[in-house]
Amino acid sequence: MDDFLLKPKRISGLPEMARRLLAVISLCLSILTPLNAAENYIVMQSTTSAKNSGLFDHILPIFKAETGIEVRVVAVGTGQAIRNAANGDGDVLLVHSREAEEQFIADGFGVKRYDVMYNDFVIVGPPDDPAKIAGSDDALWALRQIALGEHDFMSRGDDSGTHRAERRLWESLGISPSARHQRWYKETGSGMGSTLNIAVGIAAYTLTDRGTWLAFKNKQDHLIFVQGDPLLFNQYGIIAVNPERHPHVNSESAQRFIEWIRSDVGQRAIADHQIEGQSLFSPNAVAAHVQN
Protein backbone atom coordinates (compact mmCIF):
# COMPACT_ATOMS: atom_id res chain seq x y z
CA MET A 1 0.00 0.00 0.00
CA ASP A 2 2.72 2.37 1.05
CA ASP A 3 4.40 2.36 -2.33
CA PHE A 4 1.46 4.17 -3.82
CA LEU A 5 1.49 7.02 -1.39
CA LEU A 6 1.69 10.45 -2.85
CA LYS A 7 5.08 12.07 -2.76
CA PRO A 8 5.74 13.66 0.63
CA LYS A 9 5.35 17.37 0.69
CA ARG A 10 7.71 18.63 3.32
CA ILE A 11 11.30 17.49 3.45
CA SER A 12 12.86 20.42 5.25
CA GLY A 13 12.74 18.44 8.50
CA LEU A 14 15.55 16.00 7.86
CA PRO A 15 18.57 18.29 7.74
CA GLU A 16 17.29 19.89 10.91
CA MET A 17 17.24 16.49 12.58
CA ALA A 18 20.77 15.79 11.43
CA ARG A 19 21.91 19.13 12.81
CA ARG A 20 20.37 18.47 16.19
CA LEU A 21 21.93 15.03 16.27
CA LEU A 22 25.38 16.41 15.61
CA ALA A 23 24.92 18.99 18.32
CA VAL A 24 23.99 16.38 20.90
CA ILE A 25 26.83 14.06 19.90
CA SER A 26 29.43 16.78 20.13
CA LEU A 27 28.02 17.67 23.53
CA CYS A 28 28.36 14.05 24.64
CA LEU A 29 31.95 13.87 23.42
CA SER A 30 32.85 17.11 25.14
CA ILE A 31 31.55 15.67 28.42
CA LEU A 32 33.83 12.72 27.85
CA THR A 33 37.04 14.66 27.49
CA PRO A 34 37.87 14.54 31.22
CA LEU A 35 38.09 10.77 30.77
CA ASN A 36 41.13 11.27 28.59
CA ALA A 37 42.66 14.05 30.60
CA ALA A 38 46.28 13.30 31.30
CA GLU A 39 49.38 15.15 32.27
CA ASN A 40 52.76 13.89 31.24
CA TYR A 41 52.60 10.26 30.23
CA ILE A 42 54.19 7.77 27.87
CA VAL A 43 52.82 4.61 26.35
CA MET A 44 55.01 1.53 26.65
CA GLN A 45 54.44 -1.41 24.36
CA SER A 46 55.46 -4.49 26.29
CA THR A 47 54.80 -8.17 26.68
CA THR A 48 52.17 -10.14 28.54
CA SER A 49 54.88 -12.10 30.36
CA ALA A 50 56.31 -8.92 31.88
CA LYS A 51 52.88 -7.58 32.74
CA ASN A 52 51.48 -10.81 34.17
CA SER A 53 54.47 -11.06 36.49
CA GLY A 54 53.27 -7.90 38.22
CA LEU A 55 56.60 -6.16 37.64
CA PHE A 56 55.08 -2.97 36.27
CA ASP A 57 52.65 -2.61 39.15
CA HIS A 58 55.71 -2.65 41.37
CA ILE A 59 58.18 -0.33 39.59
CA LEU A 60 56.03 2.17 37.69
CA PRO A 61 54.52 3.86 40.78
CA ILE A 62 58.09 4.42 42.02
CA PHE A 63 59.03 6.07 38.72
CA LYS A 64 55.92 8.20 38.75
CA ALA A 65 56.51 9.34 42.31
CA GLU A 66 60.01 10.40 41.34
CA THR A 67 59.35 12.11 38.02
CA GLY A 68 55.61 12.69 37.74
CA ILE A 69 55.61 10.77 34.47
CA GLU A 70 52.92 8.13 34.09
CA VAL A 71 53.81 5.02 32.11
CA ARG A 72 50.85 3.38 30.41
CA VAL A 73 51.56 -0.23 29.57
CA VAL A 74 49.99 -2.02 26.65
CA ALA A 75 50.76 -5.72 27.07
CA VAL A 76 50.64 -7.88 23.97
CA GLY A 77 52.92 -10.49 22.44
CA THR A 78 56.44 -9.31 21.52
CA GLY A 79 55.61 -9.56 17.82
CA GLN A 80 52.54 -7.37 18.12
CA ALA A 81 54.27 -4.99 20.53
CA ILE A 82 56.99 -4.39 17.96
CA ARG A 83 54.45 -3.86 15.18
CA ASN A 84 52.43 -1.42 17.33
CA ALA A 85 55.59 0.50 18.17
CA ALA A 86 56.58 0.55 14.50
CA ASN A 87 53.17 2.15 13.82
CA GLY A 88 54.08 4.84 16.31
CA ASP A 89 51.50 3.68 18.85
CA GLY A 90 53.86 3.91 21.78
CA ASP A 91 56.85 5.84 23.03
CA VAL A 92 58.86 2.99 24.49
CA LEU A 93 59.27 -0.68 23.65
CA LEU A 94 60.21 -3.24 26.33
CA VAL A 95 60.38 -6.75 24.93
CA HIS A 96 62.49 -9.89 24.93
CA SER A 97 63.51 -10.97 21.48
CA ARG A 98 66.93 -9.63 20.70
CA GLU A 99 66.95 -10.36 16.97
CA ALA A 100 63.62 -8.68 16.41
CA GLU A 101 64.68 -5.71 18.54
CA GLU A 102 67.81 -5.20 16.49
CA GLN A 103 65.76 -5.44 13.31
CA PHE A 104 63.46 -2.78 14.76
CA ILE A 105 66.46 -0.46 15.20
CA ALA A 106 67.84 -1.34 11.78
CA ASP A 107 64.51 -0.43 10.21
CA GLY A 108 64.79 2.98 11.79
CA PHE A 109 61.85 2.69 14.18
CA GLY A 110 63.92 2.80 17.36
CA VAL A 111 66.71 4.98 18.68
CA LYS A 112 68.95 2.56 20.55
CA ARG A 113 68.56 -0.72 22.34
CA TYR A 114 69.60 -1.16 25.99
CA ASP A 115 69.65 -4.31 28.07
CA VAL A 116 67.46 -3.88 31.14
CA MET A 117 67.07 -7.17 32.92
CA TYR A 118 66.77 -10.87 32.36
CA ASN A 119 65.04 -13.82 33.73
CA ASP A 120 64.95 -17.33 32.40
CA PHE A 121 62.60 -19.71 30.79
CA VAL A 122 61.59 -22.92 32.50
CA ILE A 123 59.81 -26.00 31.31
CA VAL A 124 56.82 -26.86 33.46
CA GLY A 125 54.65 -29.93 33.31
CA PRO A 126 52.19 -32.21 35.05
CA PRO A 127 53.22 -33.81 38.35
CA ASP A 128 53.46 -37.37 37.00
CA ASP A 129 56.10 -36.17 34.49
CA PRO A 130 55.42 -38.74 31.73
CA ALA A 131 58.53 -37.68 29.76
CA LYS A 132 60.71 -38.21 32.84
CA ILE A 133 62.62 -34.95 32.47
CA ALA A 134 62.48 -33.76 36.07
CA GLY A 135 65.63 -32.20 37.43
CA SER A 136 67.33 -31.78 34.08
CA ASP A 137 69.29 -28.68 33.15
CA ASP A 138 69.45 -29.65 29.48
CA ALA A 139 66.54 -28.02 27.68
CA LEU A 140 67.27 -29.64 24.32
CA TRP A 141 67.41 -33.13 25.78
CA ALA A 142 64.18 -32.55 27.68
CA LEU A 143 62.34 -31.28 24.64
CA ARG A 144 63.56 -34.24 22.60
CA GLN A 145 62.19 -36.58 25.28
CA ILE A 146 58.84 -34.83 25.06
CA ALA A 147 58.84 -35.05 21.26
CA LEU A 148 59.96 -38.70 21.19
CA GLY A 149 57.27 -39.72 23.67
CA GLU A 150 54.74 -37.46 21.92
CA HIS A 151 53.73 -36.00 25.26
CA ASP A 152 51.35 -33.05 25.09
CA PHE A 153 53.20 -29.74 24.76
CA MET A 154 51.50 -26.34 24.62
CA SER A 155 53.13 -23.65 22.52
CA ARG A 156 52.24 -19.94 22.64
CA GLY A 157 52.01 -19.92 18.85
CA ASP A 158 51.65 -16.12 18.89
CA ASP A 159 55.03 -14.91 17.64
CA SER A 160 55.83 -13.60 21.11
CA GLY A 161 59.34 -13.50 22.58
CA THR A 162 58.67 -16.71 24.46
CA HIS A 163 57.35 -18.37 21.33
CA ARG A 164 60.41 -17.29 19.36
CA ALA A 165 62.72 -18.64 22.04
CA GLU A 166 60.84 -21.92 22.00
CA ARG A 167 61.03 -22.14 18.21
CA ARG A 168 64.78 -21.57 18.31
CA LEU A 169 65.11 -24.57 20.65
CA TRP A 170 63.12 -26.84 18.34
CA GLU A 171 65.12 -25.62 15.37
CA SER A 172 68.42 -26.53 16.98
CA LEU A 173 66.93 -29.99 17.58
CA GLY A 174 65.95 -30.24 13.93
CA ILE A 175 62.35 -30.88 14.89
CA SER A 176 59.48 -29.01 13.31
CA PRO A 177 56.68 -29.80 15.73
CA SER A 178 54.14 -27.37 14.28
CA ALA A 179 53.79 -29.64 11.24
CA ARG A 180 50.28 -30.88 10.81
CA HIS A 181 50.76 -34.49 11.85
CA GLN A 182 52.27 -33.68 15.25
CA ARG A 183 49.18 -34.02 17.39
CA TRP A 184 51.02 -33.78 20.69
CA TYR A 185 52.14 -30.22 19.90
CA LYS A 186 49.42 -27.61 20.29
CA GLU A 187 49.58 -23.89 19.59
CA THR A 188 47.25 -21.79 21.75
CA GLY A 189 47.76 -18.54 19.89
CA SER A 190 47.35 -16.62 23.12
CA GLY A 191 49.29 -15.02 25.94
CA MET A 192 51.52 -16.73 28.48
CA GLY A 193 48.86 -16.86 31.19
CA SER A 194 46.17 -18.29 28.93
CA THR A 195 48.65 -20.87 27.65
CA LEU A 196 49.51 -21.87 31.22
CA ASN A 197 45.82 -22.20 32.03
CA ILE A 198 45.43 -24.57 29.11
CA ALA A 199 48.58 -26.54 29.92
CA VAL A 200 47.37 -27.00 33.47
CA GLY A 201 43.92 -27.93 32.22
CA ILE A 202 45.07 -30.76 29.95
CA ALA A 203 48.19 -31.84 31.89
CA ALA A 204 50.66 -30.72 29.21
CA TYR A 205 54.24 -29.43 29.25
CA THR A 206 54.99 -25.87 28.25
CA LEU A 207 57.81 -23.35 28.13
CA THR A 208 57.23 -20.27 30.26
CA ASP A 209 59.25 -17.41 31.60
CA ARG A 210 59.93 -17.73 35.31
CA GLY A 211 58.31 -14.40 36.19
CA THR A 212 54.92 -15.32 34.81
CA TRP A 213 55.17 -18.77 36.40
CA LEU A 214 55.96 -17.41 39.84
CA ALA A 215 53.12 -14.92 39.71
CA PHE A 216 50.69 -17.42 38.19
CA LYS A 217 47.99 -18.46 40.63
CA ASN A 218 46.40 -21.38 38.85
CA LYS A 219 49.42 -23.71 38.97
CA GLN A 220 47.45 -26.53 40.57
CA ASP A 221 49.96 -29.42 40.71
CA HIS A 222 52.16 -28.36 37.82
CA LEU A 223 55.89 -28.14 38.57
CA ILE A 224 59.10 -26.78 37.13
CA PHE A 225 61.09 -29.66 35.67
CA VAL A 226 63.82 -28.03 33.61
CA GLN A 227 65.79 -24.92 34.49
CA GLY A 228 69.31 -23.54 34.53
CA ASP A 229 70.25 -24.20 30.91
CA PRO A 230 72.09 -21.17 29.42
CA LEU A 231 69.90 -21.65 26.35
CA LEU A 232 66.94 -20.65 28.52
CA PHE A 233 68.34 -17.22 29.23
CA ASN A 234 65.73 -14.51 28.57
CA GLN A 235 67.06 -11.00 28.04
CA TYR A 236 64.76 -7.96 28.06
CA GLY A 237 65.70 -4.87 26.11
CA ILE A 238 64.28 -1.36 26.08
CA ILE A 239 64.09 0.95 23.07
CA ALA A 240 62.75 4.47 22.63
CA VAL A 241 60.63 4.90 19.53
CA ASN A 242 62.48 7.06 17.03
CA PRO A 243 61.11 10.65 17.10
CA GLU A 244 62.54 11.22 13.63
CA ARG A 245 60.21 8.49 12.37
CA HIS A 246 57.25 9.42 14.57
CA PRO A 247 57.52 13.10 15.55
CA HIS A 248 54.50 12.92 17.90
CA VAL A 249 56.18 10.60 20.43
CA ASN A 250 56.99 11.87 23.88
CA SER A 251 60.65 11.30 23.34
CA GLU A 252 61.88 13.34 26.28
CA SER A 253 59.86 11.38 28.84
CA ALA A 254 60.72 8.15 27.09
CA GLN A 255 64.44 8.87 27.43
CA ARG A 256 63.89 9.81 31.04
CA PHE A 257 62.24 6.46 31.70
CA ILE A 258 65.01 4.54 29.97
CA GLU A 259 67.64 6.40 31.99
CA TRP A 260 65.72 5.72 35.17
CA ILE A 261 65.18 2.01 34.60
CA ARG A 262 68.90 1.60 33.85
CA SER A 263 69.90 3.65 36.88
CA ASP A 264 70.71 2.17 40.29
CA VAL A 265 67.26 3.12 41.58
CA GLY A 266 65.44 1.51 38.71
CA GLN A 267 67.58 -1.59 38.73
CA ARG A 268 67.07 -1.99 42.47
CA ALA A 269 63.31 -1.61 42.02
CA ILE A 270 63.39 -4.48 39.53
CA ALA A 271 65.38 -6.68 41.87
CA ASP A 272 63.01 -5.82 44.72
CA HIS A 273 60.05 -7.29 42.89
CA GLN A 274 59.84 -10.66 44.54
CA ILE A 275 57.34 -13.41 45.03
CA GLU A 276 57.90 -15.76 47.94
CA GLY A 277 61.37 -14.33 48.44
CA GLN A 278 62.39 -14.97 44.87
CA SER A 279 63.28 -12.17 42.42
CA LEU A 280 61.35 -12.48 39.20
CA PHE A 281 63.86 -10.54 37.14
CA SER A 282 67.59 -9.90 37.50
CA PRO A 283 68.63 -6.40 36.51
CA ASN A 284 71.65 -6.31 34.20
CA ALA A 285 71.59 -2.89 32.59
CA VAL A 286 74.93 -1.78 34.00
CA ALA A 287 76.74 -4.96 33.06
CA ALA A 288 75.34 -4.78 29.58
CA HIS A 289 76.40 -1.15 29.43
CA VAL A 290 79.95 -2.10 30.20
CA GLN A 291 79.90 -4.77 27.55
CA ASN A 292 78.74 -2.29 24.97
Binding site: R10, G13, I25, L32, V74, N87, D89, G193, K217, N218
Partner: protein
Protein backbone atom coordinates in the same frame (compact mmCIF):
# COMPACT_ATOMS: atom_id res chain seq x y z
CA UNK B 1 38.14 -24.52 42.79
CA UNK B 2 35.57 -23.76 45.37
CA UNK B 3 32.40 -21.98 44.28
CA UNK B 4 31.56 -20.72 47.75
CA UNK B 5 34.98 -19.12 47.75
CA UNK B 6 34.18 -17.25 44.55
CA UNK B 7 30.88 -15.88 45.79
CA UNK B 8 32.50 -14.97 49.06
CA UNK B 9 35.33 -13.21 47.28
CA UNK B 10 32.89 -11.30 45.07
CA UNK B 11 30.94 -10.24 48.14
CA UNK B 12 34.14 -9.21 49.90
CA UNK B 13 35.31 -7.21 46.88
CA UNK B 14 32.04 -5.29 46.89
CA UNK B 15 31.91 -4.92 50.67
CA UNK B 16 35.45 -3.60 50.93
CA UNK B 17 34.78 -1.34 47.97
CA UNK B 18 38.37 -1.35 46.86
CA UNK B 19 39.08 1.99 45.15
CA UNK B 20 40.81 0.19 42.29
CA UNK B 21 37.70 -1.88 41.71
CA UNK B 22 35.52 1.20 41.99
CA UNK B 23 37.63 2.89 39.33
CA UNK B 24 37.26 -0.06 36.96
CA UNK B 25 33.50 -0.32 37.50
CA UNK B 26 33.07 3.40 37.00
CA UNK B 27 35.09 3.40 33.78
CA UNK B 28 33.11 0.41 32.52
CA UNK B 29 29.88 2.27 33.12
CA UNK B 30 31.18 5.49 31.62
CA UNK B 31 32.46 3.84 28.48
CA UNK B 32 29.45 1.60 27.97
CA UNK B 33 26.84 4.24 28.71
CA UNK B 34 28.53 6.88 26.55
CA UNK B 35 28.78 4.40 23.71
CA UNK B 36 25.15 3.34 24.08
CA UNK B 37 23.86 6.91 24.31
CA UNK B 38 25.72 7.96 21.18
CA UNK B 39 24.74 4.72 19.43
CA UNK B 40 21.11 5.50 20.24
CA UNK B 41 21.45 9.02 18.87
CA UNK B 42 22.77 7.52 15.64
CA UNK B 43 20.99 4.19 15.53
CA UNK B 44 17.45 5.12 16.54
CA UNK B 45 16.91 7.79 13.86
CA UNK B 46 18.64 5.55 11.33
CA UNK B 47 16.51 2.56 12.26
CA UNK B 48 13.38 4.71 12.29
CA UNK B 49 14.20 6.19 8.90
CA UNK B 50 14.82 2.79 7.34
CA UNK B 51 11.66 1.47 9.01
CA UNK B 52 9.47 4.40 7.98
CA UNK B 53 10.66 5.23 4.45
CA UNK B 54 10.71 3.33 1.19
CA UNK B 55 13.69 4.06 -1.03
CA UNK B 56 15.91 2.37 -3.56
CA UNK B 57 18.43 0.09 -1.94
CA UNK B 58 16.39 -0.21 1.24
CA UNK B 59 16.63 -3.99 1.20
CA UNK B 60 20.39 -3.76 0.92
CA UNK B 61 20.56 -1.34 3.85
CA UNK B 62 18.51 -3.71 6.03
CA UNK B 63 20.71 -6.61 4.99
CA UNK B 64 23.86 -4.66 5.84
CA UNK B 65 22.49 -3.61 9.23
CA UNK B 66 21.55 -7.18 10.06
CA UNK B 67 24.97 -8.46 9.04
CA UNK B 68 26.75 -5.72 11.00
CA UNK B 69 24.83 -6.83 14.10
CA UNK B 70 27.08 -9.87 14.11
CA UNK B 71 30.36 -7.99 13.76
CA UNK B 72 33.05 -9.75 15.80
CA UNK B 73 34.34 -7.32 18.45
CA UNK B 74 37.95 -8.25 17.68
CA UNK B 75 37.48 -7.23 14.06
CA UNK B 76 35.97 -3.92 15.11
CA UNK B 77 38.84 -3.42 17.54
CA UNK B 78 41.34 -4.07 14.80
CA UNK B 79 39.63 -1.69 12.37
CA UNK B 80 39.39 1.08 14.94
CA UNK B 81 43.02 0.44 15.90
CA UNK B 82 44.12 0.81 12.28
CA UNK B 83 42.18 4.06 11.97
CA UNK B 84 43.34 5.57 15.28
CA UNK B 85 46.90 4.27 15.15
CA UNK B 86 49.56 6.95 14.90
CA UNK B 87 50.19 5.63 11.39
CA UNK B 88 46.47 5.56 10.61
CA UNK B 89 44.29 8.25 9.04
CA UNK B 90 43.11 9.65 12.39
CA UNK B 91 46.39 9.14 14.22
CA UNK B 92 46.87 12.87 14.74
CA UNK B 93 43.94 12.88 17.16
CA UNK B 94 46.02 10.73 19.53
CA UNK B 95 42.97 8.81 20.71
CA UNK B 96 44.46 5.32 20.75
CA UNK B 97 44.69 3.78 24.23
CA UNK B 98 42.16 6.25 25.64
CA UNK B 99 38.61 5.68 26.87
CA UNK B 100 37.41 7.66 23.84
CA UNK B 101 38.90 5.02 21.55
CA UNK B 102 37.00 2.35 23.49
CA UNK B 103 33.80 4.34 23.16
CA UNK B 104 34.33 4.70 19.42
CA UNK B 105 34.87 0.95 19.04
CA UNK B 106 31.73 0.19 21.03
CA UNK B 107 29.72 2.70 19.01
CA UNK B 108 30.72 0.78 15.89
CA UNK B 109 29.57 -2.43 17.58
CA UNK B 110 26.35 -1.19 19.12
CA UNK B 111 24.93 1.20 16.52
CA UNK B 112 24.04 -1.56 14.03
CA UNK B 113 22.25 -3.47 16.78
CA UNK B 114 20.20 -0.44 17.81
CA UNK B 115 19.48 0.47 14.20
CA UNK B 116 18.54 -3.03 13.03
CA UNK B 117 16.30 -3.82 15.99
CA UNK B 118 14.62 -0.41 16.08
CA UNK B 119 14.07 -0.67 12.32
CA UNK B 120 11.90 -3.73 12.94
CA UNK B 121 10.00 -2.11 15.79
CA UNK B 122 9.39 1.12 13.87
CA UNK B 123 8.43 -0.67 10.69
CA UNK B 124 5.75 -2.71 12.48
CA UNK B 125 4.37 0.44 14.05
CA UNK B 126 4.50 2.36 10.79
CA UNK B 127 2.53 -0.32 8.96
CA UNK B 128 -0.25 0.45 11.41
CA UNK B 129 0.07 4.25 11.11
CA UNK B 130 0.94 4.64 7.42
CA UNK B 131 -2.48 5.45 5.95
CA UNK B 132 -3.53 7.65 8.82
CA UNK B 133 -0.25 9.59 8.65
CA UNK B 134 -0.63 10.00 4.90
CA UNK B 135 -4.16 11.29 5.47
CA UNK B 136 -2.97 13.77 8.11
CA UNK B 137 -0.22 14.93 5.76
CA UNK B 138 2.55 14.18 8.27
CA UNK B 139 5.97 15.39 7.14
CA UNK B 140 8.94 13.04 6.99
CA UNK B 141 10.58 14.57 9.99
CA UNK B 142 7.43 14.43 12.10
CA UNK B 143 6.84 10.87 10.96
CA UNK B 144 10.20 9.70 12.33
CA UNK B 145 9.79 11.66 15.52
CA UNK B 146 6.23 10.46 16.16
CA UNK B 147 7.14 6.82 15.47
CA UNK B 148 10.14 6.98 17.81
CA UNK B 149 7.98 8.53 20.51
CA UNK B 150 5.14 6.06 20.08
CA UNK B 151 7.59 3.14 20.22
CA UNK B 152 8.91 4.38 23.57
CA UNK B 153 7.72 1.30 25.46
CA UNK B 154 9.30 -1.14 23.04
CA UNK B 155 12.57 0.63 22.31
CA UNK B 156 14.08 0.22 25.81
CA UNK B 157 14.41 -3.48 25.06
CA UNK B 158 16.36 -2.54 21.94
CA UNK B 159 18.60 -0.26 23.97
CA UNK B 160 19.14 -2.99 26.56
CA UNK B 161 20.32 -5.32 23.80
CA UNK B 162 22.88 -2.65 22.93
CA UNK B 163 23.93 -2.24 26.57
CA UNK B 164 24.35 -5.98 26.88
CA UNK B 165 26.60 -6.10 23.87
CA UNK B 166 28.72 -3.16 25.01
CA UNK B 167 29.12 -4.14 28.63
CA UNK B 168 30.06 -7.75 27.90
CA UNK B 169 32.43 -7.06 25.04
CA UNK B 170 36.17 -7.52 25.59
CA UNK B 171 37.84 -8.01 22.20
CA UNK B 172 37.48 -4.49 20.88
CA UNK B 173 38.22 -2.51 24.04
CA UNK B 174 41.26 -4.69 24.70
CA UNK B 175 42.84 -3.78 21.37
CA UNK B 176 42.03 -0.07 21.22
CA UNK B 177 42.16 0.57 24.96
CA UNK B 178 45.19 -1.56 25.73
CA UNK B 179 43.90 -2.53 29.20
CA UNK B 180 46.12 0.12 30.77
CA UNK B 181 45.86 0.22 34.53
CA UNK B 182 44.03 3.34 35.82
CA UNK B 183 43.44 4.52 32.26
CA UNK B 184 41.60 2.03 30.10
CA UNK B 185 41.05 -1.00 32.32
CA UNK B 186 37.39 -1.97 32.42
CA UNK B 187 35.56 -4.93 33.91
CA UNK B 188 35.93 -7.24 30.95
CA UNK B 189 39.60 -6.55 30.30
CA UNK B 190 40.31 -6.87 34.02
CA UNK B 191 38.62 -10.27 33.95
CA UNK B 192 40.75 -11.29 30.97
CA UNK B 193 43.88 -10.10 32.77
CA UNK B 194 43.12 -11.95 36.00
CA UNK B 195 42.35 -15.07 34.00
CA UNK B 196 45.73 -14.84 32.28
CA UNK B 197 47.36 -14.39 35.66
CA UNK B 198 45.70 -17.62 36.70
CA UNK B 199 43.70 -15.90 39.42
CA UNK B 200 40.50 -17.57 38.29
CA UNK B 201 38.64 -16.84 41.52
CA UNK B 202 39.23 -13.11 41.29
CA UNK B 203 38.29 -13.23 37.60
CA UNK B 204 35.04 -14.99 38.40
CA UNK B 205 34.33 -12.63 41.28
CA UNK B 206 34.73 -9.71 38.88
CA UNK B 207 32.42 -11.53 36.49
CA UNK B 208 29.78 -11.78 39.18
CA UNK B 209 30.07 -8.06 39.85
CA UNK B 210 29.69 -7.40 36.11
CA UNK B 211 26.57 -9.55 36.12
CA UNK B 212 25.23 -7.64 39.11
CA UNK B 213 25.85 -4.38 37.22
CA UNK B 214 23.89 -5.68 34.24
CA UNK B 215 21.12 -6.64 36.63
CA UNK B 216 21.02 -3.15 38.10
CA UNK B 217 20.83 -1.56 34.66
CA UNK B 218 18.01 -3.88 33.63
CA UNK B 219 16.03 -3.32 36.81
CA UNK B 220 16.46 0.42 36.38
CA UNK B 221 15.09 0.33 32.84
CA UNK B 222 12.20 -1.90 33.85
CA UNK B 223 11.33 0.40 36.71
CA UNK B 224 11.47 3.39 34.39
CA UNK B 225 9.06 1.66 32.07
CA UNK B 226 6.83 0.43 34.86
CA UNK B 227 6.16 3.93 36.17
CA UNK B 228 3.81 4.39 33.25
CA UNK B 229 0.89 2.08 32.69
CA UNK B 230 2.49 0.26 29.84
CA UNK B 231 -0.46 -1.89 28.79
CA UNK B 232 -2.50 1.24 28.44
CA UNK B 233 -0.43 2.52 25.59
CA UNK B 234 0.85 -0.55 23.88
Amino acid sequence: MNNDGVLLQAARLIAEWDPALFEIVLLSLQVTMSAVVISCLLGLPLGAAVGAFRFHGRGAVILILNVLMGLPPVVVGLLVYLVLSASGPLGVLELLYTPTAMIIAQIVLVTPIIAALSRQVIEDLYLEYAEQFASFGVSRYTRVRALLWDARYTLPTVVLAGVGRAVAEVGAVMIVGGNINHVTRVMTTAIALETSRGDLELALALGIILLALALVVNVFVMALRGTRVRGAYA
